[in-house]
Amino acid sequence: MNVPVQAVAVWGKIAPSHSITAIMITDDQQTIVTGSQEGQICLWDLSSELKISSKEILFGHTASVTCLAKAREFEKQPYVVSATENGEMCVWNVASGQCIENTKLPYRHTAIYYYHCSFRMTGEGWLLCCGEYQDVLIIDAKTLGVLHTLSSQSSDWINCMCIVHSARIQEDSLVAVSITGVLKVWELSSSLTSIQERQDVCEKESKSLDCLNCQAIRFCTYTERLLLVVSSICWQVYDYCDFSLLCTEFSKSGQCFAGGEVLAAYRLIIWTEDGYSYIYQLLNSGLSRSIYPADGKVLKETVYPHLLCFTGVKENKSFPFVMGFLNERKEPFYKILFSGEASGRITLWHVPDVPASMFDGSPKEIPIAAIWSLQDNFDKNLSMSEGIIDHLCASKYGIESAVVTSSVYIPSLDKLVCGCENGKIFITLGLKTARARLLENVSLKGNLSHKVLNGHSSRVTCLLYPHDNSVKFDPSWLLSGGQDSVVICWNIFTGEILHQFILQAGTVIELLRSPENFKFKDHSIVCCVCNDHSVAILHLQKRECLLHARKHLFPVKKIKFDPVENLLIVGCEDDSVYVWEIETGTLERHETGEIAKAILSSIEDSEYLVADALLPISQESKRNKNPEYKSSSSYKLGMVSYNLTHTEKSSDKIMDNSLIRQPFTVLPVKTKWNSANFHILLFDLEKLVELLLSSQLCGLKSSNSFHNLDTIERAKSTTEKRALTLRRNKTAGSISTVDGQVDAVCANQVSGDTNAVRSLEESGGIKRQKKMKSSRKIRMQSSGNIDVDIATDTAKLLLSCLLPWGVDEEIDNLCVRHLDILRLQCPVSFGLLSNESHISLMLPGWKCTDCGVLEEHTLSNLFSKRVFDLSNKYLAATEGQNETKEEPVNNAYGAKGSETVLFLFNRIALINRIINMPSADTSEIESSHRSESVHDKWRNMEAAMSSFSSFYGELSSKTSKHHSPDFRRVSLLKLICCWSDQSIKIIEAMQAVLLAEVQRTMKTLRKTAVYRQPLAIVENGNVSALKHDKSSNSANFQDVEDVPDRCVLEESESPDDMKAHPWISKVCSCKVC
């Protein structure tokens, strides 16, 4: 099950760089997919008027994308597969941006073709791949596992291939050309069974063509005879029957052909690497004889190419182009020639159905139909692409806003530190900055407190807050490195400069804190990597540079420390290793090859750095793959490994864990080629609901019951509380007041606790549950109103991001007036986390795409037209409960707007949960519901039921109506499950539900009747239901012993209305209820 996290991207004025290395247009001609050298994949919307607009950017790959291909029959599932330089493969749903499947294989593909033979094939089809390995690989399109290889006599790399599918020949074949120019033909349809049984499949034919660097091979499906082979210096036409050469055309000097396609019978289009294309008509031999009467004896048929049309590029920027051609004959589709450049620009040409030359026979130029780039979208939607602190610069200084070049978010202080291009460093509060950036309220912007640190003379390239993960460092220290080769140590609270380290070694690329187990004379140190491949070790307390290692010839890839001998081990990109003695500053060893590898692998546990990490997300997830392993290996080194800071660190690196602790986080993202940064705001829905509920409880329940609950919990675990006090201290930013003794005690306790949690990880749900509870306790204990405020503010911010502003003026006003939710300044870019390392983010152009034509200047936050439809369906499905539903809503209004915020929030959290539930589970729920009493599935069903009880918390509180809505509930569950099957985005679903609920509240508001019902009951109903839902969702993994324990807790949480929930007794197998 996914972590229900909502991401909102805050872009900057400068678009992330996107050097296109692969491009394709989907079969429905509505989406352009591009892969980039940076590793991101961009989805562009293509309108029927051939207007391009960027839609989404998909993060997940860590290396340059080499090829893209469709991965399913497109009409059924809009899936596209991407492959990268380092062997990663990923299947994406291009409609929703979700990552469906991903893998990493030791193969680098350069071309992929989807092959599906509907009547004889099981599964979803094959991906036929070729690349930097011998022959052709067959990969399962669903699992991305290698099924088989097509082998050949003289194996070599395959440069290009195509599938020949012809009605005349009655056999699907794969035609491929190897790197040495050997053409090979494999039979596909007749060898289906032998491939499935993994027998050797050898080529049927093999012929050496006289061409090196073959770029493309295409079969003419119109004549079912001609074979087009494009190499960099020439293109040739062969007869497929006997592979005899029919014609050859050489390129102009200085031009390299890059590909080609068959337009129609005897009509070809060939394109070059510099973005030109040529359309030829092949004239048959009869004509050629008349032109060359000397060639009297026409025994051999020849064809002769005649240039009809050509396309060129404006201002040839001489970057490599990747081009493709989409040939669609039927209306309303076009014949489109498309190209992507390294600069990130996409160019489209609309090729006429019947291309013709000029009247005088000279070739005609086909005009460009569309040009677009990511930056164009950012420029067009200026308000959407505003950076996170742009408004600060604008309001205070009236200057052109500075580009943020590096930033860091400090969760414990909720501070966002942004370093800018002009050397200034801004320190602001994370949540407030986000609110000021996103919401339409001038007062927020004016009142935003922030600090500006002036010290660097040019771009700030990296920032580090060393205390964040390691209490060894002073909490006031903030380090910044700049292009001016200076590292400044600041006091983050006062803004004064504590020390400047002048390195004179080029731009500072990275600042890293030393690993926890490494201490230099009892002090932790910071190491910094510079542009000239040198590594400097800085001692912050003594304010001196201990060592500046300058001998490295290649960029630094890894840095490790040997704590026993005080050695610095630097691994470079050329796989060589330098070992430095820190104390004396001498180069101890320089090794290459096997010895270097051995040295690097001998010390496992260390801070390390990936020199060209694309995205912290992927980096983090890479790191968090095996936290257990890390700690155990440090144990091996004989260090005191289980100190507080260490466990803190390893758990903090896990994105999820840190998220659980924080309902709101800002994640700065650095892109590879340009210096601009952007930010992702992360909202943890579950956590927010928890926080809101607890705050509600605090407010509404009698203090008596609250104490009750509190004492029970206190009795249960004291250790967690200690951890909590420590954490609270941290959040207050006053760690210096914690004395050493407490520190040590807590260290043991916490490490024990986290270990216990870790060991439970296999049993899935428990860990999560435990975490939830502990974190919840923390919040309750730290009883500060600040936390509640933060939670409400965060929730409201997220709601304003989700609400469909601009659809109905009345609803808008209602939300602003009654719910105290502020309007959005501009539509926001949401993100979708598919798993821990794959995320898709909407780009500033998304708005124009899905919603069709909207007036330019109206603010509209509608995700797509579909939302209306969905919201109507939702209303219909929940219609039956209308009369009961209205009450709590009304009550909420009667009391306070914040309850409604909670109410709405609960719903979107629920929708999120249902959609995130694996579909297998949900179908199981339904089937079990039908069969009613299968014991194994009993819990699952209850999970569904209880989630609906939470949905209609108010309903369950009324015993009389309890039995009736069963049918309705299931219908709603079905509806939402079917949404998730239809690849409807979560945000669409959430917005639809919000819209429906708000509309419904509108209706009730207009009515004057106000029911009064004890609110506490309603809310409590929600609490326990929610709790239950969570635990029973993960019930599959849980041991039976845990169940009673859980129920006791629940009872204590809502002791007074236990009897009012008959369904609870159904869920709980224990005797308590």
Partner: protein
């Protein structure tokens, strides 16, 4: 610091220098790189590039340090082993076992083929940017260098890191069917390249009886398996009893490796030169 204070005149000089770098120096380095890599590519004796006269054959005598249990001669033709003539003295019986490739067969060394292909890809990348090509930005050069370096380091890695194979993979490879007379069932052979050496490993096996009390633990993938490694192949369990490793130095592989290293350094130096300027002003990448 100096950057901000750089005067307009200084700036102009810097820009002039950067222009020189892009227009003159880059091409000089690219030319040098091409020459080196072509030299390296010649070492691999690409059959298609030379006149149809097949690539020359080279014979190498296998040797081990110390013992003389395995003797043999290997003949290498480009990326293919076209002859192998091996004499194995059985450890216990001192019986002499002789096996050789069948006349009509040759064994492709994938590592050499891959390394050759990578080098040719690098050369192809460089050729596309010949003297007439006009570099306009630094990042263009950086990207080209990145692409070339990627190919070169792959080429080098192919030679320095042999594939790790499991014993069943070795047993099922086509290599076992290459010999005349056929290999005895208790012998496995594997050829690979390690740095500049062509290596041959011979595994002598003995069949583990199903009734044996030894607990069976199949060995994972490895470049060289140790005696005692066990595996299952064709419903039969085996244990490696003896391992013989013999190798011979292939001089041109050494040359090629040196060429790779030198050209990688050249590439990196060019990248460094470009990035020095990039820190002087925030040049637009495009």
């Amino acid at each position: 610091m100096a950057v901000a204070m750089a005067s307009a005149a200084e700036r102009a000089v810097l820009e002039e220098e950067f222009k020189w770098l892009l227009q003159e120096e880059v091409h000089a380095v690219l030319k040098q790189l091409q020459d080196i890599l072509k030299e390296a590519s010649h070492r691999f004796a690409l059959p298609a590039s030379g006149a149809e006269a097949a690539a020359k054959q080279e014979s190498f005598v296998l040797s081990t340090a110390g013992t003389d249990q395995v003797k043999g001669v290997l003949t290498l033709q480009g990326d293919a082993l076209c002859q192998a003539d091996v004499n194995l003295k059985m450890p216990r019986s001192n019986q002499l076992l002789h096996f050789a490739f069948r006349e009509d067969k040759q064994w492709k060394l994938q590592q050499i083929q891959d390394a050759r292909n990578h080098v040719n890809q690098a050369i192809y990348l460089l050729m596309k940017r010949d003297v007439n090509y006009h570099f306009k930005t630094g990042s263009e050069v950086l990207k080209l260098m990145d692409a070339v370096m990627l190919q070169l380091s792959r080429a080098r890695n192919r030679l320095t890191t042999p594939a790790t194979l499991t014993l069943p993979e070795i047993a099922s490879s086509g290599l076992t069917r290459m010999f005349a007379p056929a290999l005895p069932p208790d012998i496995l052979v594997n050829f690979y390249i390690n740095l500049n050496k062509l290596c041959l490993t011979i595994y002598q096996l003995h069949v583990l009886q199903p009734s044996t009390t030894k607990n069976f633990k199949p060995a994972g993938g490895s470049i060289l398996h140790n005696p005692g490694a066990m595996f299952e192949f064709g419903n039969q369990r085996y244990e490696v009893s003896h391992v013989h490793k013999v190798e011979c130095v292939v001089p041109w592989l050494n040359d090629a490796l040196v060429f790779f290293t030198v050209s990688l350094q050249l590439c990196q130096q060019l990248k460094d030169k470009i990035s020095v300027f990039s820190s002087y002003w925030n040049y637009k990448p495009y």
